[in-house]
């Protein structure tokens, strides 16, 4: 329990850690999903390409959208982008920074899915076995075109009677797998080089603006959290007061409570302070509306 609490606290310590944690979990989930998924190529001429490319590209889109949805900061960013200006200016650099950090984190799981798919090879073999040139492979050279198409489409299915012990099937499979793995490693290499260059070269451009954008995006996140906490506290006290008023109005019938009044009155005083003078539904509604339409300026002097 203690261990989990510590790990939990470490990740909760700031919002960036939370997002990194979610990003890592999604990446692990995508690898697990791929290993659990039972890939079964249809081995029919028209369907192979659709199935193979579908499995390669549709789950990444789903994972990308999941990454955007699970990230709290995307809502905060949208809020900041769409709010009316009011007393507080909008800083486009902050919005751009938040957007780029959200998109970067959301891209990790889809990229991992694609790379694992390519390194495994089944998708590409399924999708492109029908497009192979039969002349290159001995077993398919002296066969009619229609039959060749059928045979090539059956290459991904090892247990089919037509191609079970066909050495050319193995040659085609091996050839496609080699290309698939080469493509996977190349994509991984390109991405890592890009990440390295981005990390190395970023301080060379506009470091001061970056520090500011990062600080204010963190600030917006903290402010939103504290506002929600304050509102929760307020609504709790509001409800408490409301219920107390209700019981007070029933006072004549509940004579037993009368000697409790002074003590409750004192507690009332302290809590009323925390209500900060906002004591009815219309006032609360007005407060929430103003928070959205007219955020206060960043000046507490």
């Amino acid at each position: 329990m203690d261990r989990f609490r510590m790990i939990f606290q470490y990740f909760q310590s700031n919002s960036e850690s939370v997002m990194n944690g979610i990003c890592g979990l999604l990446a692990l989930a995508s690898v697990k999903m791929y290993t659990c998924f039972d890939f079964s190529c249809p081995c029919l001429p028209q369907y192979n390409m659709a199935y193979g490319l579908g499995i390669m590209f549709v789950p990444p889109v789903i994972l990308f959208l999941c990454g955007l949805i699970l990230n709290r900061q995307s809502l905060v960013m949208l809020d900041e982008w769409r709010r009316p200006q009011g007393h507080r200016k909008k800083d486009l650099a902050v919005i751009r920074y938040m957007c780029s950090s959200i998109v970067q984190r959301a891209m990790v799981a889809p990229v991992i899915w694609i790379i694992v798919t390519l390194l495994d090879g089944k998708c590409l073999i399924c999708a492109f076995s029908g497009s192979m040139d039969p002349e290159k492979f001995v077993g398919f050279a002296n066969v009619t075109p229609v039959q060749v198409e059928q045979l090539l489409a059956k290459v991904p299915c090892k247990d089919d009677e037509l191609v079970r012990n066909n050495t050319s099937r193995k040659a085609v499979s091996r050839y496609l797998r080699c290309w698939s793995q080469a493509l996977g490693w190349s994509i991984l290499l390109i991405l890592i080089v890009a990440a390295f260059l981005a990390r190395w070269l970023r301080p060379c451009f506009n470091q001061a603006t970056l520090l500011q954008a990062r600080h204010w995006s963190n600030y917006i996140d903290i402010e939103q959290k504290i506002f929600e906490e304050t509102c929760c506290e307020h609504s709790r006290l509001f409800a408490h007061k409301c219920i107390l008023h209700f019981f007070e109005s029933m006072r004549q019938e509940i004579k037993l409570h009368s000697f409790n009044l002074p003590r409750q009155g004192e507690r009332d005083e302290g809590e009323e302070d925390l209500l900060r003078g906002i004591t009815d539904q219309d006032q609360v509604n007005k407060l929430l509306k103003t928070w959205y339409y007219d955020k206060p300026p960043l000046d507490v002097s």
Binding site: G121, R177, R199, L287
Partner: protein, 338 residues
Amino acid sequence: MDKFRMIFQFFQSNQESFMNGICGIMALASTQMYSAFDFNCPCLPRYNMAYGLGILLVPPFILFLLGFVLNNNISMLAEEWRRPQGQRGKDPSVLRYMFCSMAQRAMIAPAVWVSVTLLDGKCITCAFCTSVPVETLGNASHPLLSQGEIQRVLARIPCKEIYNGQELIASEVAIRYLRCISQALGWCFVLLMTTLAFLVRSLRPCFSQAAFLKSRYWSHYIDIERKLFDETCAEHARSFAKVCIQQFFEGMSTDLVAARCHLPRKASEDAGEASKKLLGITDQGTMNIALKSWHRCKPPLHLHPPALPSGNGWAGEGQPPVHLSTPRRETAAYYSLV
């Protein structure tokens, strides 16, 4: 639980320990990746060499760059390199130290991959099966086989189920031969790496140990300073938000008189505490200027002396002491960095 917490705290204690932890994890990850990876030799004449050497050399390069990318110090190094001089001098030996220590840690996972690959043998077998010496190991004088045909047959050696050149050279013999060479190379590589590491560690104190200690100290300092700055900014943002929201609620309340009368004790305590933490920076413009100067013009490494005590108990005499003691500098003047 306690042990786990201690280990966790130990790794978090400074950036170097943290990086050692990451380095170890990456080395383990590289062995795991190799065993999970399904090696699939194409068994075609020109593709074999490309595939085999590719698998031997491309993942180590990826792991090396990944070691840099995962290291937070890289942006710190780039920042320190590119910042304007301002009031604080730049010391190239500190930058060199940081770069060397990052590069050393990043080299471990690639070295592990290369050793594991060579010791396993599949890559070398795949890459060099067409260069097996058929004259010594097999039956070179096989009639009616052109050079190209021989190459095609030899290329299928790693793929046992499609190999059809038993008369030319037994696949077992060739695979054993190539594997033996690969393992010898692997062990030599491991020996070489270990010897290098040993020499570097044992000979370094013989050369400029004092300069080394200085560089190490200042590189730790830069790391700690950056972390503390980020923490201070986060705390400032939190206090700023609290006070801002407090003022917002107060401004919204229609019952202004009631709010002022009560003057909430708890709320004002909170606000007082939060205002103190604001360190005098109370609006967006000032904060932006503070962040900009942090980058453009870092403060000098020279802490101000504490203020002189004024009038220490000489009220009765009416005469100040003859000589005021010079302010004791509690901080060592490490401005040799400049």
